[in-house]
């Protein structure tokens, strides 16, 4: 499967949708900091992997698909939920990358420079996430379909 990147897709996002993501992201970051200050780094650290904008993103994906189908006179509810479900499956894969990010920061930070460790951990997140996605796609492509009547 080919991955494509198109900046034109950004034009379909409304200003209030950008604002929603910015505010959610900002609030979750502030909350993570405050929780770490109040309850310590062990509890605060959990919130570094909090699904901050996941509900908002899934809802926006569903709404976009519904609106797209409405324009051609169809009900897009099922397609909208399917699209959000497929997006969530990709998110689940990237959580393994997120765990790799955290493990690298945990183990490497005490002995190395902060910016370098964070950069290496971010690269690890990307590599692990993309590798798992490719692995999943290749397995799906090579899965043999059952023959009819068997």
């Amino acid at each position: 499967m080919i991955v494509e990147a198109r900046l034109a897709h950004l034009k379909g996002i409304k200003p209030h949708e950008w604002a929603l993501r910015f505010i959610f992201g900002g609030l979750c970051t502030v909350a993570a900091g405050l929780i770490a200050e109040r309850f310590g780094p062990a509890i605060g650290g959990l919130f570094l992997a909090f699904p901050a904008i996941f509900p908002a993103s899934a809802s926006l994906i569903e709404q976009h698909e519904i609106q797209h189908k409405l324009r051609i006179g169809m009900d897009g509810q099922v397609r909208g939920r399917m699209a959000a479900g497929i997006d969530a499956a990709g998110t689940a894969l990237a959580c393994c990358g997120l765990a790799a990010f955290a493990a690298i920061v945990w183990k490497a930070l005490p002995g190395h420079g902060g910016p370098g460790v964070v950069a290496a951990a971010t690269a690890a997140w990307l590599v692990v996430s993309v590798a798992l996605w490719r692995l999943k796609k290749s397995r799906l492509l090579h899965r043999k379909l059952p023959r009819q009547g068997s």
Binding site: A49, M82, A84, P110
Partner: protein, 115 residues
């Protein structure tokens, strides 16, 4: 003032990864950016400056439990959404307690085993 800086950096980083998610297709690939280390990048960079490496390393250790909980939560969301019974917002909000229970449970088990 520090909270305002946190808010602005967090909002900017989360928006940047959300933009990447919109740019890429297919949907399953774009979904990878839903679990980008956006809050971690914003928080850790400030924590390193204000509280030091040891504090940030402990946060990162707990983040592993949060990531495992996120994996289970996102997998459940995906399965439920594929069945089309509830809206995306209802499904993702309804299942948030799964993230809390799993992440706190794993941290509790880890703390007990290292007590």
């Amino acid at each position: 003032m520090q909270e305002l800086i946190r808010f602005l950096i967090g909002g900017a980083v989360v928006s940047a990864f959300a933009a990447l998610s919109e740019v890429f297709r297919p949907k399953s690939f774009a979904g990878l950016f839903g679990a980008a280390p956006s809050i971690a990048l914003a928080t850790l960079s400030l924590t390193l400056v204000t509280s030091g490496k040891a504090f940030a390393a402990i946060e990162a250790r707990s983040m592993i439990f949060g990531a495992v909980a996120f994996f289970l939560y996102a997998s459940l969301c995906s399965r439920m959404l594929m069945r089309h019974k509830f809206s995306a917002l209802a499904t993702t909000v309804m299942l948030l307690p799964v993230w809390f229970a799993v992440s706190c449970g794993l941290l509790y088990l880890f703390s007990r085993s290292h007590a």
